[in-house]
Subunit: 301 residues, 2 copies
Amino acid sequence: VTHDARTALPAIWVDGTPLEVGSAHVSARDRGLTLADGLFETMLVRSGVVFRLDRHLARLSAGLAALGIPEPPALRDWIREALRGLAGLDAGLRLTVTRGVAGGGLAAPEPPPVPTSIVVVDALPSFPAAIYEAGIGAHVASGRRNERSLTAGLKTLAYVDAVAALREAQRAGSDEALLLDTEGHCSEATASNIFFWDGDTLLTPPAGCGALPGVTREAVLELAGGLGVPAAERVFDLDALVGGGEGSEAFLTSSLRGIVPLVRVNGRAIGAGIPGALTRRLTGAYTALVARECGVRTAQI
Amino acid sequence: VTHDARTALPAIWVDGTPLEVGSAHVSARDRGLTLADGLFETMLVRSGVVFRLDRHLARLSAGLAALGIPEPPALRDWIREALRGLAGLDAGLRLTVTRGVAGGGLAAPEPPPVPTSIVVVDALPSFPAAIYEAGIGAHVASGRRNERSLTAGLKTLAYVDAVAALREAQRAGSDEALLLDTEGHCSEATASNIFFWDGDTLLTPPAGCGALPGVTREAVLELAGGLGVPAAERVFDLDALVGGGEGSEAFLTSSLRGIVPLVRVNGRAIGAGIPGALTRRLTGAYTALVARECGVRTAQI
């Protein structure tokens, strides 16, 4: 399937209006920019269909309610419009909703300004095959994730900590950063949830560790249940992660990268130091799930 | 002194170019917006002169270096240009520098994109006289400030936690939020440093409590030294703050509001529950310092 949209990516809509990519789109006084006062969702588009759009929008709605930002009523229409030119294509779709334009100060203006809604559709990043075949290593961030932040669990625009953690990891020769919460429990990677198979149970940190309730994370927990793999949201620490037997495994989950084997932390192997059997099994099940829910024809998989 | 600039505020410059206030100024793919990947400074302009511009720019430089964002060489020129129409006027000047425009993903692109520099000059907010005369109350935020964040001490764009804390405080009927660090020590207010006079020493939380090294905070520490008031960067907790004797005092400091007496926390009085003598003395000294350094003529004070 080819389509002009492929060459026209990235494509940008603000409040439903398509805009030139190279132009300016947003006010310098938008609180999304001045204060990170907003939320976003990054979604996987397979064959022109968003994987679990409802789950992404539900998480966004909950976040908007928590921050007291009115939910733009036309979000679904604007996403549908952005997807119109994408029939049959794979892409990444980012939806950002900010509190809108305001003067200075931290106080949210009353009455609330009109929120700013941004949809950016771009080609799926071409992740190297090696990250799936050989797995990746992570560097434990020197800073901690704050599980007691007022915005813990919300996908706010405040990602500069994760940017700094990834930068630190890359300078240490690693592909990813693993963030611990303030009590030292594993929380998540910079933009991925973490799973750990300890040989008996598939564990992922609970929300109480500052982990974001990822859409892929949720799908993996479902798949594990369907496969009869014991799974639980449960705290684990770094010693457990790198101190398990040969049969232990770990992987990261996110919307665009999917399931990525995590095989080393700070140079220490997790399990056998190679992608594990359960990771491969869940990757296959996840790929099939996405294809099924997005209506991908078999020949395309 | 009157000037057309007064009616033309706010005024906005992006990379030194003046832009219409009502237009769009920044790309929707600017990492300042998508990831809070940038820093800012809010500066007091008295009589057309920025109070301690050098200190603000030094803090910004340190932050840019920490995040690996190249420092735009023309920042001073752009600020000078923005101040040109402001001779004799008071204002607030916000300088924002982001990592610039990039595609998706958290990794900072190599080579680095051109940073985006935004200057917004606006009229000074008209703070109610009552906040200085009667003082304000604060609500202790239910979430904690993360003193072990990778970006602790940097004035990044990630202010959504502070926005949420202020919103929570206002819903609780309070004017401000007081943030504790993860160990329970007083850290700072949403956009102000905190000082506590325990009857013997003027204390302010050290950087290790997640407090931002404020320019006004630094000036107040200098003034205390000059007045012979014992002062120290030292940890204190909530019990100390509200459990001191009648002689204890507290106040908040920030560039635009200056020194604001803090007289209550969660409904409990600090000291006598009214602005204290030391707070008033430092306020007078600070006002005189700003006037002196900004060259304000006496008649204007």
